[in-house]
Symmetry: C2
Subunit: 472 residues, 2 copies
């Protein structure tokens, strides 16, 4: 029942915007901006004052709308939310995004009681609410931007769902996603989690949402953390890795959380163990959350920790190698056959053992792709880190790599790459290569190595839950 | 003598490009591309074949050039380098960039003997050589791009000098610098360090190069590490912090270094202690090297570890706070007066203690700047982390902040900020703000916090050398 409603909420046939506005200073203006020209279903602005909002016929009330409404996005003052929810219930709305703030997150205890009230009303009608106190959500898969930030529509469509307890973190991650071509299915802040919380979302995303391949969580503190952990465990077999950034690690940082309850939320050591037991991989930073999610969405998991580093220049290969060991990975040893093949393709002035310095093959993308293939075929290698820094003279390398890699067979092992170039150079070919399944492109050699380590840890976490263990 | 020659090498009145070419496949083509239209001195292409190279009169030999040559950039085959250096000596060239590879870095022992030979020749004429086996250098201060990568000229002019043992790392860092508005004085790879090594460069940059405010090193392995450490110690009083990324931490990563000699180079634990004793701050990644260098170049060092986090949204403030504690910093406690001022400026629905959630003042840059000023004036706060994520509704915030901050008095304490927005939005105002002294803008809250911690560590390292210790 919840899953069905969430399905309609995230992929509505029609959306009403209650509090829609033509005035830039109102959130209802920005929600309209996010929908108009992007969303393909029907949009019903609701505003008692005007005839038209954003060029669309506006309605004085939800009731006055001449058709069904699947999703209501509410951006009216807190005091009007109760009656608005009644109207939603009577109109048989499937779900609500409640952007309005001023509920249990404020110091005034009136906020908490107002929130209890709206939870009751929603319960009466079986109305799932994303929020209150949220920027909304974006469903990239079906082009629904039900948020006050229209720019989120620029994120590419893909397999990463980010479910966050903070709108600010969604904005941070969403904009980094645009820059770094992280392709997402959904991006949302649950706000005060009135009646839709992490457990409901995990269950929905793992069991019902085909477009989601990996789930990234941002957690501050929870009243009932066990519910999240139980839900993660119960959907653990769904084959969709769950990774989390947990805030409130330090005492002071934690006391800043409005959701701090003195329970599990306050003790990071306990959280650490609990997340691991629930099969959730914890990461340390927002960038690591995104890098790891991108790698999981693009690449198969490595079957072991043995990694080959193929680099166009020695230095980047060294700093990637330095990152591997403390992350639990090791540099693979090539078989005699692989080493022979590399020796055929690279002159003796190159470092031909792992980490390989492919410098002398720089002008020959064909040879470089052959080295990559040979290393991927080596049974002693579980994944490849591929590094190439632009220099004027190798301008055509990226194009050549893309041409060759596009037509290559799908890689059965993860390839995490770093193609660093000045802004505007290589953008096209790098983007094309980044969209090929089997390859993920990240900004630096160290971040590529760390993401590879996390792919391996995700596999190890899955192993801990009964999946066949890789055997060296 | 060395310093004088290096001065003329890095800021030459004229440059000869030996091996200059009109053919894209030659490095001499790319060196010409880097100089033409950018360098303001005289350029003399040297090429026996043609009349004109890149539209400039070309000379069959160095000798044929009708004027003085300060810098010779050499990109001819290794076997021709010896006679070319003789020609440079006879022409009274001040210094050489030797791009040509194929010396001691190759397996063939002929490479090492060739390098010994050219070192002898250079010694005879007192010719300093950057290289061999280098991409060259860029001097942003006086617009000299003596490298084969013309795009380095897009890096902004500022106070960070990067001296690297790897051209690949320079390319990685140089392109990240363009993206992240890291402003540099010089960028160079020392290559095989024929007769100009880290010690010479450190001495020159600290004692002679006014444009350099902070020195970032990338080190793989050295034959005589003590010389670098001694040089760092001896220039330690120069007030220019030195930070370093040391590669070869893992056994395998180290064995990849061609410079590995079994001495200090091979043992990272020893390096760690040695760097600290020499007053050099070691960082963990290329991004941390750049973030820290940028913060040092832009901001005064904090006099203590007590930091205020001012955030437009609670989540980013929390993850910044989480990063502070393990990095040796703490959240500052506001004085009563400061707290009163903040309470006047922020409504009670905001979190007004540190970390401050300025959300409700979002539309009012004037109030936000007043909060910043109050916190900077608080004696219990040594630095500020300022975080703002774009949302459609706060479009004008960045403009407003810039307007106010531009006219604000210089900040006596470090302000490290994070203004995250979709590509193309806020670029202008963020760029303007980032160029103001006293403020450094970094990509994420965690990286801002880590850079603040490194500013404090740089101060602590200086304290260890006799500078007055900050007293809590």
């Amino acid at each position: 029942m919840m899953n069905e409603k969430l399905d309609r909420l995230f992929s509505p046939g029609s959306v009403a915007v209650i509090g829609a506005s033509n005035s830039f200073d109102k959130l209802g203006y920005h929600v309209m901006k996010s929908l108009v020209g992007n969303y393909r279903g029907r949009i019903f602005p609701v505003n008692p004052k005007g005839d038209e909002v954003w060029g669309l016929t506006s309605y004085p009330s939800l009731k006055a709308i001449p058709g069904a409404v699947d999703l209501a996005v509410i951006a009216v003052p807190a005091g009007m939310v109760g009656e608005t929810l009644h109207a939603c219930g009577r109109k048989n709305v499937s779900g609500v995004v409640l952007i309005t703030a001023g509920f249990k997150e404020i110091e005034d205890p009136g906020g908490a009681s107002l929130e209890a009230e709206i939870r009751d009303i929603a319960g009466r009608y079986g109305l799932p609410i994303i929020g209150p106190n949220t920027f909304g959500f974006v469903n990239l898969t079906s082009a629904v931007n039900a948020s006050f930030t229209s720019e989120f529509s620029r994120i590419e469509k893909g397999g990463v769902a980010l479910v966050s307890q903070s709108g600010g973190i969604c904005h941070l991650c969403g904009f980094l996603a645009i820059e770094q071509r992280l392709a997402m299915s959904k991006l949302m802040s649950l706000g005060n989690r009135c009646n839709v919380d992490f457990p409901e979302l995990l269950t929905y995303l793992v069991n019902e949402d085909d477009s989601t391949k990996v789930i990234a969580l941002y957690i501050e503190g929870l009243d009932e953390p066990r519910k999240l952990l139980d839900a993660a465990r119960s959907v653990g077999g769904g084959g969709k890795p769950i990774i989390a950034l947990k805030a409130g690690k330090s005492e002071k940082g934690d006391s800043a959380s409005r959701f701090h309850t003195g329970s599990l939320a306050g003790n990071h050591a306990i959280w650490k163990g609990a997340l691991r037991q629930a099969g959730i991989l914890e990461v340390a930073t927002a960038e690591e959350l995104l890098d790891t999610a991108k790698a999981i969405d693009s690449c198969p998991l490595p079957r072991g920790p043995r990694v080959a580093v193929l680099s166009g220049q020695a230095g980047p290969g060294m700093i990637a190698s330095d990152t591997l060991e403390p992350s639990g990975l090791s540099l693979s040893r090539f078989s005699e056959e692989t080493q022979r093949r590399i020796n055929d393709l690279l002159p003796p002035i190159a470092i031909r053992t792992n980490p390989v310095d492919m410098g002398p093959a720089w002008y020959n993308p064909g040879n470089i792709i052959e080295i990559l293939k040979a290393v991927l075929a080596d049974e002693g290698t579980d994944g490849v880190i591929f590094l190439a820094m632009y220099a004027s003279a190798n301008l055509k390398l990226a194009d050549g790599m893309v041409e060759h890699m596009k037509t290559a067979d799908p890689f059965g092992k993860p390839v995490i790459a770093c193609f660093t170039a000045p802004p505007g150079i290589w953008d096209g070919p790098i983007g094309a290569l980044d969209r090929k399944k089997g390859v993920a492109i990240l900004p630096t050699p160290e971040r590529a190595a760390r993401a590879m380590a996390n792919l391996w840890k995700v596999n190890a976490l899955a192993n801990g839950k009964g999946v066949k263990t890789w055997d060296r």
